[in-house]
Every structure is written in structure tokens, then in C-alpha cells.
Symmetry: C2
Subunit: 374 residues, 2 copies
């Protein structure tokens, strides 16, 4: 009986490890479902007690749907930007509405319309600035929306301040529900994902380098045995810029947790990513020249085979060691263990092919040594 239980337990564990990404997605979907039901409950209760006017409770629902993102940091930042946008837009919109009501009569819609045109146009122009678009796009959009809704609702003669207050309360309520569920129920940290993906990039590049050296020195026949799958890792590193940047943006918002302290050096992930992307580009172009036909004399190839292979493998080992040390967050001794080996390999390489072929692996190494500088 116990054995059977253990077997099923271990098979469950292996299933979980295999489908980690899928399970994370399912958990996120369930979390969103719970948040939606909770916030609808608020709406439902309110229709009986009429604490909050008319359709204002709707804003809590809208907030939950719009700001609940996969990563905890993304949810937090989107919610805060939404809140800030609402405050700014609502405040200015309220001013415009009150100004319009003071003027009164036919002047009211004119004042509101003109202020709407000016604020909407100016905010839209600001939104198009790439720097602002990157960070504050959502907040600016919400401020335009709130400005418009608040200023216009004053035209009907309703109490603008009351409406703004209730809507803001509802948005805060929706935000609170999102944050509680996102942070305390199986949180998905962008920081974890960024950290793991950075560490695994080293591994991918290491195997690419090994594959490249192997491909160069093996015959055409053997080559087909091992496909160029290893270069996919290179390409994916090369194209990782956008994803890394968004993860970094969210990771900065996340509170300290687990192995990440308060002043975790998030900026360095960006630098490492840049360097690895350059290295990936070098490896890819190296692969391109390995492929170019009729290139090298066989004898020449043989003469440089050994140092090249040695350099390639020590480079690959250095990379995977670095990746592992990042993954486990322990300091590796670049001075003590890795750098000298690389230097020796480089010297051997230079001696073996000083007049020709130089500047080939050199280059990849240059980047790898640059890796030590951070």
C-alpha cells in the first residue's frame, strides 16, 4: 500500500516538473477566476445595500480584469499606475467640470470641450514619447479616460466630487483584491523568472560553442548525426531582449522575497543580457563561417584542431560554471579557477595559428573575458 502511494507520489512530482509552465498558467487562471468572483460579490452585495451609487461598482470589476497580470510585479505596477492616472485625471477633470459649472449655461459645454481637447491632445502627445510610452503609457491613458469621464459627467449636473470619490474607492478595492491574490496565493515572481532565464542562457551558449567546434572538425557524415538544434539556443538568446526588459521592469517592482534582497542588483541582469546577446551574435556568425564551403585545407584544419577544441571546451566550461554560480547565487572565483585556464587556451590557440585564422575564436573569448568584468 505504502509503496503504491510512493510510486504515485513520485510520478506526480515528475509530472509537475515536466509541466511546470502549464501548471503555473493553470494556477494563474484559477487566481484570476477567484478575484473575479470576489469582486463580483462586492457588486452583488452593493445592489442590495446601495452604498455605492449606480454603476460605480462596475469600476472595481474593470480594475480587476485590466490590472491582473501574470507576474506579481506587473500587477503591482499596473495597479499603481492606474491609481496615479485616476487621481491626476480625476483631479484635473473635476477642476474642468467645476469651472464649467461656474460659467454655466451654454458656456459649460464649451469650457469642458476646450479643456478636454487641450488635455486629451497634450496627454496623447506625451504618450508618443518613447521613454514615456515604455514606462507610463498605461497611466497616461487612464488619466485621459478619467479626465474625460469626470469632466463630462459634470455636464449632467451631477455631483462630480461624489462620483470621483466613489469610483476611486472602487478602483482601490479592485486593486486590493488583485494585490492580495497575486502576492499571497502562489505568487509568480518576475524576478525568479529573470534570474533563472539569465542563468540558463549561459548553459545554452556553452552548448552552442561546443556544437560549433564539433561541427567544424567533424566530417560531413558525422555532422548529420547531431542536428543544429544547439543553435536554436543562440537564436533565442539573441531575441531575448524584449522579454528580458519587461521582466526586469516588473522585477524592480517586486518586494524582497526569497533569495532576492532589498537592494538586489537588477541592473546587472541587463548588462549580462547585453553581453550574452553579443556573444550569441558572435557564435552565430562563427557558425556561418564554419558553414561556408570549400574553405579550409584539411591539413591546416588538423593542425589547429587540438587547441581549438581545448579552447572551445574550456570556454564552454567557463560559461556553464558562471551560469551555475549565478543560478545558485554563490560567488565563483574567476581569478582562481576560470580565467587562467582561458588564458592558457588562448595562448595555445595563438601559437598554433598565429599567421592565419586568428581573430576567430579570439573574439568569442574576448567577450567571455568581458563577462568577468561585471
Amino acid at each position: 500500500q505504502e509503496k503504491k502511494f510512493q510510486a504515485s507520489l513520485s510520478s506526480t512530482i515528475s509530472f509537475v516538473q515536466k509541466n511546470k509552465d502549464e501548471i503555473r498558467k493553470v494556477i494563474h487562471a484559477i487566481k484570476v477566476g477567484i478575484a473575479l468572483v470576489l469582486v463580483s460579490l462586492v457588486y452583488f452585495v452593493d445592489t442590495f445595500y446601495k452604498e455605492v451609487g449606480d454603476d460605480n461598482a462596475m469600476w472595481a470589476i474593470m480594475t480587476v480584469v485590466v490590472i491582473f497580470e501574470f507576474h506579481a510585479g506587473a500587477t503591482l505596477s499596473k495597479g499603481l499606475y492606474r491609481g496615479a492616472g485616476t487621481v491626476v485625471g480625476g483631479g484635473l477633470g473635476g477642476l474642468a467640470a467645476i469651472l464649467g459649472q461656474l460659467v454655466g449655461g451654454i458656456g459649460n459645454p464649451v469650457v469642458v470641450g476646450v479643456s478636454l481637447f487641450i488635455f486629451g491632445g497634450a496627454a496623447t502627445y506625451v504618450r508618443l514619447n518613447p521613454d514615456i510610452k515604455k514606462k507610463y503609457d498605461y497611466g497616461v491613458m487612464i488619466s485621459i479616460l478619467t479626465f474625460n469621464l469626470v469632466s463630462v459627467s459634470g455636464l449632467g449636473g451631477e455631483s462630480v466630487i461624489e462620483i470621483a470619490r466613489e469610483r476611486f474607492l472602487m478602483i482601490v478595492l479592485g486593486f486590493a483584491i488583485c494585490i492580495c491574490i497575486s502576492f499571497f496565493v502562489f505568487p509568480m515572481w518576475a524576478s525568479d523568472e529573470l534570474h533563472d532565464s539569465t542563468a540558463s542562457k549561459f548553459e545554452g551558449l556553452a552548448s552552442s560553442i561546443e556544437g560549433c567546434v564539433e561541427k567544424y572538425f567533424n566530417d560531413k557524415e558525422n555532422q548529420s548525426a547531431r542536428p543544429i538544434a544547439s543553435f536554436k539556443g543562440c537564436v533565442s538568446v539573441l531575441n531575448s531582449k524584449a522579454k528580458d526588459e519587461s521582466l526586469l521592469k516588473f522585477a524592480k517592482w517586486e518586494p524582497p522575497h526569497g533569495k532576492f534582497g532589498l537592494s538586489h542588483p537588477w541592473e546587472k541582469y541587463q548588462k549580462i543580457g547585453e553581453t550574452l546577446r553579443e556573444l550569441a551574435a558572435t557564435i552565430l556568425s562563427l557558425e556561418g563561417s564554419v558553414n561556408s564551403p570549400g574553405e579550409s585545407l584539411q591539413a591546416l584544419k588538423e593542425s589547429i584542431r587540438e587547441p581549438c577544441e581545448a579552447a572551445g571546451s574550456s570556454l564552454a566550461r567557463a560559461l556553464s560554471e558562471l551560469g551555475e554560480s549565478i543560478m545558485k547565487m554563490r560567488r565563483c572565483q574567476p581569478g582562481a579557477s576560470i580565467a587562467p585556464k582561458l588564458k592558457v587556451a588562448r595562448q595555445e590557440l595563438s601559437q598554433a595559428m598565429s599567421p592565419f585564422k586568428l581573430g576567430k575564436l579570439d573574439n568569442a573569448e574576448g567577450f567571455a573575458i568581458a563577462c568577468f568584468v561585471f
Copy 2:
């Protein structure tokens, strides 16, 4: 008098050409301002005639703020996805609300809550799929929101179908305003931008190649005279993937206009972009090896100087010719004019440095020749 007018006219024209991007942004901001005022006018008129219930007119405003994007194609696609999401979410939400009302009593909120949990969770899971996220993210989000609002509003005993109908009408109204202004008042076509940026990439890479060759053969002193600004073009080509993809996505939505026919081969822009990015990576790594110190003997360098320079300049000329032909959309004669020159340059290059250095410019050329295949 006339001369003065002409002078001011020409200075205006040169100002416009210099600040083209800024002026486009300002025009877009004014367009958004007009759309906001127009849609608020609807809201304003409605508060007197009470055609549309309560806060439903608000949805027109929200639609305009959210879907009005810079490019015409982006506005159209976002609007259509919003419409589709509203119809799907509203239809299913209405069903859930009616089902709840049929059950009645305490069963009503339970039915609505359960269906909300299931629909919200399932749609959120679907949204996390990368392929769906790329294309339909916004539509799915809107369908969750509409489902939630419609199904929950049935709990208050209001007529669900009436609410859904009015809100949908308001969304269509907002959509119509956006499309009219976006398409007929100084339209910003994503297709134009994609076309121009693709053509100008050729020019940038051509100047990078020239700069690279020049840098390699010039002395250290002369080098500082010409900064490495030309490589910025390379880096920007390398990082252009995300922007190109979004432009391509929008360009496909745009109706035929100007020089772009109904079946314009948009897919090819993607292929050209891929090839140019590979070429940019090659040039960058070439630049890296040019930089590596103490590399080449001066005599050797001189011996290959002429063919290298010839190859570099013919490559650059070929690239800028290709770029120009794309820009002006006339067919260039690759067989007749460009390819033979490149072949000659390549042969000279091979002869000059057959045993060593081979596979350096070779590679960049290989890509350039691959450019002809499309």
C-alpha cells in the same frame, strides 16, 4: 514681396522635413483631441434626450480613449477585436445571467458566480498562450470584462439584453468616430513606415560596411577622425525585430492605399528584415575582430587592402541600390548589374588571400547574395 514669401515658404518646407516625426505626433494628438470632443458631444446631447440609459454613453468615450492608436491599421484592428470580444463576452454573459434568473432566488448568484469563475479562468488560460497573446490578447480581455459586467448586472434584476444592446451601440459609435478620423484625417499608415524603414536599413548597413573596411585599413590616428557612429545603424537594425513585427501586424490590416495594392506581399518584409538582421550581426562581429588588438602584420594588411576595399564598396553599393529600388518600388536588375560585380569582387578577394583571412568578408557577402533570392 514675392521673394520674401518664397523664402519663408522654403524655410517652412525644410522645417517640416526636419521635424517630420514631431509634426506627425502633433497631428495625431490633435486628431485624438477632436475624437474625444466629438464623442463627448454625444454624451452631452444624450443627457438631455435620454435616448441611451444612464451611464451607457460612457462606453463610447471609453472606446475612443482605448482604441485610438497612432497607426490607422492599429486602430482598426484594436476596434474590431474590441467589437468581437464584446459580442462574444456579452452573448455568453447574457446567457449566464438569464440562466441565473431562471434558477432564481439564492441560486441566481451561485450560477452567475460559477459561470464567471469558469469563463474567467478559461479565458485567462487561453490568453497566456503566446500565439493567442500576440494576436488576440486585447479581444480576450474585453470578452472577460464584458462577460463579467453583463452577467453580474443581471443580478440586480435589470434587463440584461437592453443593457448589452445599448452598450454595444455605444461601442460601435466610438469605433466609427475613431475610424473616420484615423482613416480620413491625415492618416498615419503603418505600411508606409514599414516600407520606409526597411528601405533605409539597407542604406544603414551599407554605410556600416564602408565604415568597417575604412576602419580596418586606416591608421589609429585617422580612425578617431571618423567616429563609430555608423555602427549605431547596425545595432538599431539588430534590435528592430519587435518594432517591425508590430508594424507588419498593423500594415496587414490597412486597406489598399497609395502604392500598396490589395495583395501587397507583406510577408516578404519580414523575410528581408530577418536577412538584414543576420547581416547586421555579421557586420558587428566583423567589427569586433577588426578591433582585436595586435592582430595583423602590416604587410599582410596592405596586400589585401585593395580587393577588400573594392569588395566592401561594391557590397555597400549593391546594398544601397537594393534599398533604393525597394523605396521607389521599381524592379532592379540583380542579374544584370549587381550580382556580377559582387562575383568579381569576391573572386579577387579569394585570390588575394586564399590561404588566410578567408571566410571573413566572404560571410557578409554570402548573406548579401542571399538577399537576391527573395
